[in-house]
């Protein structure tokens, strides 16, 4: 392996060096400074005689006398089942003081695309125990469902609640399937604060979840460029566990906003033509290469389900990060600032939220026959109630018709009873749907135009129950 002392330019996270052999695109590079420190990087552009290197740990301490070694291979993640229970840094090095990792195999972190023909369409309902998700925006195994949040909102609590409570109901019942495919959590942190990291770690330790988890930690004060590698490390591990070791893997990535900032930083250092708001034009492709690594493959037991978390700058969902994410992922869960200040836990705004895979994963044989209709009806009724709230502010409740008042009551009850449940309550799907019927009972039967007559007959609460629901709602 040849060593070069030919650095010509250092700019932001980039180092340019002259070479006299051919260097492959994406190859891994080691740079040794005069102080003896070794930094790692990756070839971003390779041309005859000159390479551009992106240094993960930042370029601090590098001068023109530093020596550059090209390792002749692309970035790999050492994978083994023993990774479960381990805490690693953003580039995959253990930081928990545990033993050295002895890999079974080393996988390219870029990851190849799954052939759409080889995919299995995700249809298994995951019960998260959160009504606003299970009932209204059902999570499915193999789905990528991001949480759209904002600064200062409890998205982490929700992610933890999902990680803790997620089960597949049928499997619990027969039990033997559980042994075949176990559940694992991969947690990829990008640029989160030490405090947030502690919150996650404490929860993992408290609930014993750590032993079935692999944690990748890139903290706020770690180099930004390293963040571009962290999610790829996490997803490579997830794919290994899912498709080679039959685990059902839930990948939580937080915070994607920090990841995108790192992309922008590199783009700017390379003097690329910027796209919207300075983010690189290839950000869609780049994000897709992460998010599309969720799914199921025909003939394999395991699955990769992704819950990326992103904080929307200024709570603006037209910002490029949430916007591009929404175009790639299969829906989104919105955390709402108003609901949060009203003390609703989890403060999920179901109206803009969506699960695209829901329709095929619910109903008879998956959840319950009436699920789709109930969810549709609640959406429509809540949306109508929401609309009326604006009107009430102007004309007052008295000016509204009896029908309108019922919708207003419904909207209130929907928030305070259905969405509100606390971060520690685990509701199964029957509880969630029954609660839905209780609330729908506040509306006259003939208003339920989205629900099949058969289900109305079977589930619509009798009159006396309706009263109770209203009383509860009034509380």
């Amino acid at each position: 392996m040849k060593e070069y002392q030919t650095i010509t330019e250092i700019s932001g996270p980039l180092v340019f060096a002259e070479v006299d052999e051919s260097i492959g695109y994406d190859e891994i590079v080691e740079i040794e400074t005069e102080q003896g420190e070794t930094l790692r990087g990756q070839v971003l552009e390779s041309s005859d005689g000159l390479v551009a290197i992106q240094v993960f740990e930042g370029t601090e301490g590098i001068d023109r006398n530093a020596s550059v070694r090209f390792l002749g291979e692309t970035m790999k993640m050492p994978v083994t089942e023993d990774l479960l229970g381990r805490v690693l840094d953003g580039t995959g090095q253990p930081i928990d003081g545990g033993p050295e990792i002895v890999p079974d195999d080393r996988h390219d972190i870029v990851g190849a695309a799954i052939n759409p023909y080889a995919r299995e369409y995700p249809q298994e309902f995951i019960q998260t125990g959160v009504s606003a998700i299970d009932g209204m925006n059902t999570l499915i195994r193999g789905q990528k469902l991001p949480i759209f949040s904002g600064s200062g909102l409890p998205h982490n609590d929700l992610a933890l609640q999902i990680a803790r409570q997620a089960t597949v109901p049928e499997e619990e019942a027969d039990g033997d399937d559980e042994e075949g495919s176990e559940f694992a959590v991969i947690f990829g942190a990008m640029g989160i604060t030490q405090e947030e990291a502690n919150e996650f770690m404490d929860d993992f330790e408290r609930t014993g979840a750590l032993e079935r988890s692999v944690v990748f930690m890139n903290l706020a004060d770690d180099p930004a460029v390293e963040r571009t590698v962290t999610p790829r490390m996490a997803l490579t591990t997830a794919e290994y566990l899912a498709f080679e070791k039959d685990y059902h893997v839930l990948v939580i990535l937080t915070d994607m906003t920090n990841y995108c900032e790192a992309l922008r930083e590199i783009g700017a250092a390379r003097e690329e033509v910027p796209g919207r708001r300075g983010y690189p034009g290839y950000m869609y492709t780049d994000l897709a290469q992460l998010y599309e690594r969720a799914g199921r493959i025909e003939g394999r037991e395991g699955s990769v389900t992704q819950i990326p978390i992103l904080t929307m700058p200024g709570d603006d969902d037209t910002h490029p990060i949430p916007d591009l994410t929404g175009y790639i992922t299969e829906g989104q869960i919105y955390i709402d600032r108003d609901l949060n200040s009203q003390g609703i836990e989890p403060p999920i705004n179901v109206l803009p939220s969506l699960s695209r895979l829901m329709d095929d994963g619910i109903g008879e044989g998956f959840t319950r026959e009436d699920h789709a209709d109930v969810s549709d009806q609640m959406y429509a009724a809540y949306a109508e109630g929401e609309d009326l709230r604006d009107l009430v502010n102007i004309v007052g409740r008295e000016a509204l018709s009896d029908r309108d008042n019922k919708y207003l009551d419904f909207a209130d009850a929907f928030e305070t009873e259905f969405v509100q449940q606390g971060f520690d309550t685990n509701r199964d799907i029957d509880d969630t749907l029954d609660l839905g019927w209780d609330l729908l009972g506040m509306l006259p039967e003939e208003e339920l135009n989205r629900i099949d007559e058969e289900f109305i007959e079977r589930y619509y609460p009798e009159d006396d129950e309706t009263e109770t629901a209203e009383e509860v709602a009034a509380d």
Binding site: T285, A288, I328, L351, Y379, L391
Partner: protein
Amino acid sequence: MSQATETDTVREDGVIESVSGPVVTATDLGARMNDVVYVGEEGLMGEVIEIEGNLSTIQVYEETSSVAPGEPVENTGEPLSVDLGPGMLDSIYDGVQRPLAVLEDKMGAFLDRGVDAPGIDLEKTWAFEPEVDEGDHVEPGDIVGTVPETESIDHKVMVPPDYEGGDVVAIESGNYTVEQTVVELDNGEEIQMHQEWPVREARPAARKETPTEPLVSGQRILDGLFPIAKGGTAAIPGPFGSGKTVTQHQLAKWADADIVVYVGCGERGNEMTEVIDDFPELEDPVTGKPLMSRTCLIANTSNMPVAARESCVYTGITIAEYYRDMGYDVALMADSTSRWAEAMREISSRLEEMPGEEGYPAYLAARLSEFYERAGYFQNINGTEGSVSAIGAVSPPGGDFSEPVTQNTLRIVKCFWALDADLAERRHFPSINWDESYSLYTDQLDPWYKENVDENFPDRRQWAVDVLDEEGELQEIVQLVGKDALPEDQQLTLEVARYIRESWLQQNAFHDVDTYCSPEKTYAMLGAIETFNDEAFDALDAGVPVEEIQDIDAVPRLNRMGVQDDWEEYISDLEDDIADQLRAKY
């Protein structure tokens, strides 16, 4: 992927000079613009997109990790082409026409690199039945025989458009592979069952005509309010979550085209899987044959190489044109054209071209119009008539329709189906906004509707549009003063409009019956609401208060018209009941 017609250009191979993502430059490559090349030791497929002096710039259709300067580039001397022949239907391809099923056999569940596979099966034999006799004279484009390609489609074997044509000297029915000669001409030209065509070039046609027949979609809001013609163009823009893909899927499932080419361009892998899983199980409502037997899928998901995303719409439309040449009506769905535009932008920025609006290349508008102009209702060169309808989804960033891709698309297409996030939020599906959407085909299609559905169809459509318009205006007042402050007749109009919206415009794509609605049913359903409107206003004139009219128990049954299999009886009973009950009030 396959080679196009042999040319006598000198094929010189080159050497890689630099690599940056999907863009590779090579020196000493004696290639022409848009020639296909194989890059590096692994032979990754690419296309020449810029030539400057001795330096050629290549966009590579596969991941370029570890490709290094100094590696060879092999020139094929031919432009990017598709292989056209029997076997394309019921297939699923990537953006450069490699069959995904074959790729799975060759390299497993993940897409590896440097694997080539022909677009059509070269081993399979097909039963060829001649349509011409020895001694007949054939011209380019002429149909010389047929092959039963799938249950529902007969594949026509045609003289390639770039042949000279002549007298048939040998032709015989029998089983052949696509590479065997089935017809020999007196000038020595040999015709096989497959032919190749460069994707970036439109296949020739004799004349483009004004379309006069609708592409019936089975979707009430489209057939009823904003119809598209066979050979027409439409754009479906909408923010994420507003139902673009479901609308495209509905069109692919139920549109009354002979052939459907569905291009999944830079979209989700699971969505393509859904299509692959669903379509074989669905039946064409008209012919009763499996839908897959008329469908060709092109899937280049968002994580597959960006350059192949740029080419996949061309691959799709070339296949569509080929079936058009046989005299079929073809519908092409591209989901999403924004991803295609972004692929252009990405490649353009790697080339360090001067960016136009929002970083898109200055040739964005030209490329979009070139693409949509390949759609149309055509007189083919062989005398048959065929059409290509192009329906492109657009994904505007932040749902803002003023962005370049939406705007440039709107300048070309004649149907605009605007999806609306507000409607989607309240689960009004399909969430096509009736105020913003339009179709410029309504006038030329009205004669068809009058003849095939009902003389009164255009009038009834206009009535619905008027009621919805009036509702829009009234809603502004309601927002200020509340519904009860309106006069009774206006309250009634709001009620009627609500039924138009909820029971007619809304349609449940996931309900077995409601998912497809024939134009007759569409017309009759609207008729029932109109009956309610007329009877209700008569009642109102006779002094019946509006609350009482709303309380008629027959009226909510309007909401269940869509899900009725036996709709004729249901609707006529319902109309009678509404009339009886309302008239009983006065």
